[in-house]
């Protein structure tokens, strides 16, 4: 099984496991090809064609950027294997893909990998039909609009630009079903190609038309029963008559069953579920589906009839608990569909007509806590569900619309022992035979989701682990805890040979950490998928898994058209990088309201002189940086200044600095080791007594000290933020001092004003280094005009 579609259609937020769609991942990419030029950070924009027939070999062109050293494709699902890869040229290469006869139909996810990186996650489609290339448009006007003849049972691949209309003629017998569906919007990562399909008779009479569909969202789908023997024309175009530059599509045409939803939309894991596929042109298609033994939040099931399979699935859930099916009439609490089964349960129904509302009755105990989740839109039902809970008498207790995206969600604590009802309706009062839904009432369950966050807006850059041989690579890891807390440990499995992961604990309340991967110098250049989990340090059993969201088709407003949640991450060992970096472990902690310079040392290959950009990958709470720093061209050492705010959490954190450089063909990223950074409370506080000084005069500024943590030896204290040409010599203090006096000298030209910019900085010696800490911000020094100066002024006026 290797198919996945987006779950959080409108939600740009981190994924929630119970609502997530999972991409099955497996497989170790197994290919080796001599690497050519060094070209880091590859990207993959698309395949041409973007699919192939099951049980065949297909040659596809892979297009993207920095692919010169392409090695192969890393398929997340089973059944697809790359048998050869051509030399790359002009940002593209050819890959021969062998598709097993039992490969799952529909969407597969894949990344390109090169000797120096792993590219974007993209989709590839396995079809039951032979591929047919869209005929090139004839040059002469006479034949320009002639439609292309295709047999029923084909997957056409082509493209549409601007106002193009691609027409295809199929021949059908009376009563024969003509089905068509498009993969369009999903194939253009940075453009919106919103296609529409029209089916018409030979005389031009339009029989069916579809632009968007609940099943395929922005992509059209239709099925129609031929009214007579004859030729029928399918026309595909952009719904705005302005297809983007690429406008690539796959069009499945055939007489395959094409239901739009399935009822019930799930069942108990492992059971033989009797279902009805709904929405096909020939009517309801009954079937029995063997659900997987393990619960599955989104299980693809393909309608089959007369030996023909739909090219893309309908969606079911396999849950650990049984179903309750609705029995109409059930439009109020009094007639609610009853059950004597205990919770957890799944209530299934169809909002069958306009204004329909479905009630289910169940028993619950006081103080039980449940997640109440509707699955409708996520399973591609057109229903925009509203969720309500009633008491037995029909009084509404709770209601929700859209907490789970278009699907609704409630967190519900049972107020008393007794019978209750859950009710489902459409937000706009709509309904119809395909408006299926499934309400799952489940106890709150601890879960932990792990993923690599987006590092650059609208880009998949640095969302894979690419470790150069004999080097390190650091990544941020995001953690989302549901119904659980406490410290966690990260653990990776199925990493490549020679690659290890080093991660500190994920402290309670922290949702982001930096982890460092290291590859031995002997590691082989390769790529594969791997799993990462976060488990409580106390050994409590909590389910944890990768839920890595990837926007396949983004748009400017951070609401992707098409998002996939992958259940595995990608790791690669890359060719050596031209430099390594090491963080010089600080021997002292950083104090609150203090600062520190992190020193980073680079080991460069002899021919690499370029600038190395540095950044603290993860800033613990209250730790600030300038965002970026650098090791200058040709140099081997750089500094990353950090500061700790007054309320930085006093803990030990794991930090790492990442370094990047332009290899000439893309950015190369490496990191330092994972190092400790401890934040401690300040040693000294205090206040600067307000005072004044005349221009050209001197005064004493007294600082009252509050000793907070005793320190050894003498600490240098400086009065900083002084106005122009005002000086104060540094002083020394010990842990016993209660005040310190600075002699302050003002120049004749020091600006007359009330200066509130003074503060103290103290350098506490420890382990041969200094802990820098500031206090008394906002200290005031007033500079008055000197009397002499005044007199001179008067003289001048006279």
């Amino acid at each position: 099984m290797a198919v996945s579609l987006p779950n959080c259609w409108r939600k740009p937020h981190p994924p929630v496991l119970r609502k997530s769609v999972i991409v099955r991942a497996a497989g170790l990419a197994s290919l080796a090809l001599a690497a050519s030029a060094h070209a880091a950070s590859p990207t993959l924009s698309h395949f041409v064609p973007a699919g192939g027939q099951r049980g065949t070999k297909v040659e596809v062109i892979c297009e993207g950027g920095r692919l010169d050293d392409a090695k192969g494709l890393l398929f997340f699902g089973r059944g697809l294997e790359v048998t050869s890869v051509s030399e790359a040229a002009g940002g593209k290469f050819k890959a021969k893909i062998k598709i097993a006869p039992d490969a799952a139909l529909g969407e597969h996810t894949v990344r390109v990998w090169t000797a120096t990186g792993v590219g974007d996650l993209r989709t590839f489609y396995v079809t039951p039909f032979p591929l047919v290339k869209e005929a090139d448009e004839a040059k002469d006007a006479a034949t320009k609009d002639e439609p292309q003849v295709v047999a029923l049972g084909a997957t056409v691949w082509g493209s549409i630009q601007g106002e193009d209309v691609d027409r295809f003629v199929v021949e059908a017998k009376k009563g024969q079903r003509i089905s068509a569906e498009v993969v369009g919007v999903r194939l253009q990562p940075r453009e919106v190609f919103d296609s529409m399909l029209t089916l018409s008779k030979a005389d031009g009479t339009v029989l069916a038309e579809n632009d968007d569909s609940s099943l395929l969202q922005q992509d059209p789908v239709l099925s129609f029963v031929a009214p007579e023997d004859g030729k029928y024309t399918l026309a595909l175009k952009d719904s705005t008559n302005a297809a983007p530059g690429s406008g690539r599509y796959l069009l499945h045409v055939g007489s395959f069953p094409r239901p739009l939803t399935v009822y019930p939309a799930g069942g108990q894991a492992g059971e033989q579920l009797k279902v009805a596929y709904l929405g096909d042109a020939t009517g309801t298609l009954p079937a029995t589906v063997k659900l997987p033994a393990q619960p599955d939040p989104r299980f693809p099931s393909f309608a089959e009839q007369n030996g023909q399979s739909a090219p893309s699935p309908n969606w079911l859930r396999a849950s650990p608990f049984p179903n309750v099916l609705e029995a109409e009439p059930n439009n109020d609490a009094a007639t609610a569909t009853p059950t004597d089964k205990p919770l957890p349960l799944s209530f299934n129904g169809v909002v069958g007509a306009k204004g329909d509302i479905d009630f289910f009755k169940f028993a619950a105990k006081k103080d039980q806590e449940f997640d109440v989740n509707i699955f409708a839109r996520r399973l591609r039902s057109p229903l925009d569900a509203v969720l309500e809970i009633y008491d037995e008498k029909g009084n509404r207790i709770q209601q929700n619309d859209d907490s789970g995206g278009p699907d609704s969600y409630l967190s519900w604590k049972v107020p008393a022992d007794g019978n209750f009802c859950v009710a489902v309706k459409d937000q706009l009062g709509r309904g119809g035979p395909i408006f299926t839904y499934r309400v799952e009432l489940t106890p709150k369950r601890p879960e932990i989701a792990v993923w690599l966050p987006e590092m650059q807006q609208n880009s998949q850059e640095r969302q894979t682990i690419v470790v150069p041989k004999g080097n390190r690579y650091a990544s941020l890891v995001k953690i989302k805890r549901d119904n659980t807390g406490g410290d966690l440990n990260l653990a990776a499995s199925e990493l490549l040979p020679g690659v290890t992961m080093n991660a500190g604990p994920v402290l309670n309340g922290i949702d982001t950490v930096a982890v460092v991967f290291e590859a031995t110098p002997e590691a082989t250049v390769a790529a594969r998928t791997f799993a990462l989990v976060a488990k409580p340090t106390d050994g409590k059993p909590v389910e944890s898994r990768v839920a890595h969201p990837v926007d396949i088709v983004g748009n400017g407003n951070n609401t992707p058209y098409y998002r996939i949640t992958a259940d595995k991450l990608a790791v690669a060992v890359a060719e050596e990088a031209p430099f390594k970096i090491q963080l010089v472990e600080p021997k002292v902690p950083v104090a609150q309201s203090g600062s520190m310079n992190l020193r980073v040392v680079a080991a460069r290959k002899p021919d690499f002189k370029g600038k190395i950009t540095l950044a603290l990958l993860y800033s613990p709470p209250g730790i600030g940086t300038a965002g970026s720093a650098e090791i200058k061209e040709g140099e081997t050492e750089g500094v990353v200044p950090i500061s700790a705010s007054g309320d930085a959490q006093t803990k030990k954190w794991k930090i790492t600095v990442v370094g990047s450089a332009d290899s000439g063909k893309g950015a190369v990223w490496v990191s330092t080791q994972l190092a400790d950074l401890e934040v401690i409370a300040p040693f000294v506080g205090g206040q600067i007594a307000r005072t004044f000084v005349d221009q050209g005069d001197k005064t004493v500024v007294t600082v009252k000290l509050q000793q907070k943590v005793p320190f050894e030896g003498k600490a240098k204290i400086s009065l900083l933020g002084l106005p122009n040409k005002v000086t104060a010599a540094d002083r020394e203090i010990t842990k016993d001092d209660t005040e310190v006096k600075f002699e302050v000298l003002a120049d004749k030209t020091s600006p007359v004003a009330r200066h509130s910019t003074l503060f103290c900085q103290v350098a506490i010696p420890q382990n041969g280094e200094a802990i820098l800490q500031s206090f008394a911000q906002g200290g005031v020094l007033r500079i008055d005009p000197a009397s002499v100066a005044k007199a001179e002024l008067k003289e001048e006026k006279k």
Partner: protein, 446 residues
């Protein structure tokens, strides 16, 4: 602390807005060139009501408004914070300037040398953290209102001071930068005349100033005669002030097209190569040089933009790339105006719609921050060599002498000899102050 929240790139709808049909039409009709010359002069005479307020004596004859679209960072330009914690200070260093104790960004090397000729305001403040609203503030002197389209300062100057030396009074370099640079409730005649091309590009020429290729002066005269015949025919059919006025509009346009000296104002090639180099052979340099030529020739108000300063990410890279050309050009402009004796009669103001967040964000950039930012004035009676106002140690709030949009506008108008309290007539016979509740800030002035 203020209740103003930093606005990230994602928070500002302006980043996602597609041009509406209305804007498209607007841009197509007016934005591209501004107005055609005929329209321009035709509309200009439409308003001349004067509500009897005595105008102040003009110190400045003209103004160059250098606008930094996107919201430029004060921390990385005129108001570095070398003592602030690193996440406030940012990645860049600072340098000494010609003013004792005043430091600018390390990339304002040339500007540092002319710091004694300018007034830097480090306490500019308003509350609008979205691009469009902030821009509206800085171009009109008003907070945006759903009820009224306010005229830009350039349009008000055009309305109040009118044309000089056959030149349009209000010119945008290279184009009208945003919808708030327009004439608002004033007649569109007071909209900007736009160059329509970038002075920095090769083959730059201002549209409409020269006869179309192949049109000889004789042929042009024939065309004018035909037009007069048509107009004369209309005159026999209808009596209208607008018709009566037509001739003078055409005359104004003809005189611009046929006046070599007026046309020459737009001819950047007339500048010495050395001068062009001094300003810098780039957008900042050539636009500022063009601006100087225009005010020298008699344009009242030149509005120019340079760069994109909306640096939500990698501000170090952005500043490193964009600031040096500005620095070189700006210093060249101030020196050039000064050497030509034009600085005292020309206000040069550098503004932006807002500043940027005190703290560096996770993308090594800074987000929108209108609470305090820096602007600069030079010439036209503004004090030479001072820093007015200050921001607090982290650049979060004004610390001393906050300068409001209204006070800034009032001071600028005052220097140009326009009474800020004067009322202009908006549609519906609504008298609207040129600046509402604005005070002239004497400390800014020499």
């Amino acid at each position: 602390m203020s209740d103003i929240k930093p606005v990230t790139w994602l928070d500002d709808p302006a980043h996602f807005r597609r041009p509406s049909r209305r804007e498209f039409l607007y841009a197509g009709l007016v934005g591209g060139l501004g107005l055609t010359l005929g329209d321009f002069f035709k509309l200009q005479a439409a308003q001349n009501a004067t509500p009897g307020i005595v105008a102040p004596t003009a110190v400045a004859k003209s103004l160059i408004h250098i606008f930094m679209p996107g919201g430029w960072s004060a921390q990385e330009t005129f108001d570095p914070k070398p003592y602030a914690p690193i996440e406030y200070r940012g990645p860049l260093g600072s340098i000494d300037t010609k003013l004792d104790g005043v430091r600018f960004s390390e990339f304002l090397k040339d500007t540092a040398k002319i710091a004694d000729k300018i007034t830097v305001v480090r306490s500019m403040t308003h509350g609008e953290a979205a691009h469009e609203r902030g821009t509206h503030n800085m171009f009109t002197g008003y907070r945006p209102s759903p009820a009224l389209q306010f005229p830009s300062m350039g349009s008000v100057v055009s309305h109040e001071l009118g044309s000089k030396n056959n030149l349009p009074p209000y010119v945008c370099v290279p184009n009208m930068p945003n919808e708030f640079a327009g004439s608002g409730y004033l007649s569109t005649a007071h909209g900007p005349f736009s160059l329509g091309g970038d002075p920095a590009s090769n083959g730059f020429a201002v549209r409409d100033l020269n006869m179309r290729a192949g049109i000889t002066p004789e042929r042009f005269d024939r065309r004018r005669n035909i037009l007069s015949t048509v107009d004369a025919h209309f005159r026999t059919l209808e009596k209208s002030d607008a018709l009566d006025a037509m001739d003078s509009f055409y005359q104004a346009a003809y005189s611009l097209v046929s006046s070599e000296s007026a046309r020459e104002a737009f001819n950047l090639n007339a500048e010495a190569e050395a001068t062009r180099d001094t300003y810098g052979r780039n957008e900042a340099g050539q636009r500022m040089l063009m601006s100087r030529r225009l005010v020298e020739a008699g344009v009242r108000f030149v509005s120019m933009t340079y760069g994109g300063w909306d640096m939500h990410a990698k501000i170090q890279d952005g500043i490193t790339k964009s600031l040096p050309p500005f620095d070189k050009a700006y210093a060249a402009l101030i020196n050039d105006l000064d050497q030509r004796g034009l600085l005292d009669s020309t206000i040069v103001m550098v503004t932006s719609e807002f500043g940027r967040t005190p703290k560096i964000n996770k993308d090594a950039g800074r987000d929108h921050w209108p609470r305090v930012f820096s602007v600069a004035f030079a010439g036209g009676g503004f004090k030479r060599g001072q820093v007015y106002g200050s921001s607090d140690p982290t650049g979060s709030e004004p610390d001393a002498d906050p300068l409001s949009v209204e006070n800034m506008a009032a001071t600028v108008y005052h220097q140009l000899g326009i009474a800020p309290e004067k009322k202009l007539m908006a549609p519906g016979d609504r008298p609207i102050d040129i600046v509402r509740n604005g005070s002239v800030i004497a400390e800014l002035l020499a």
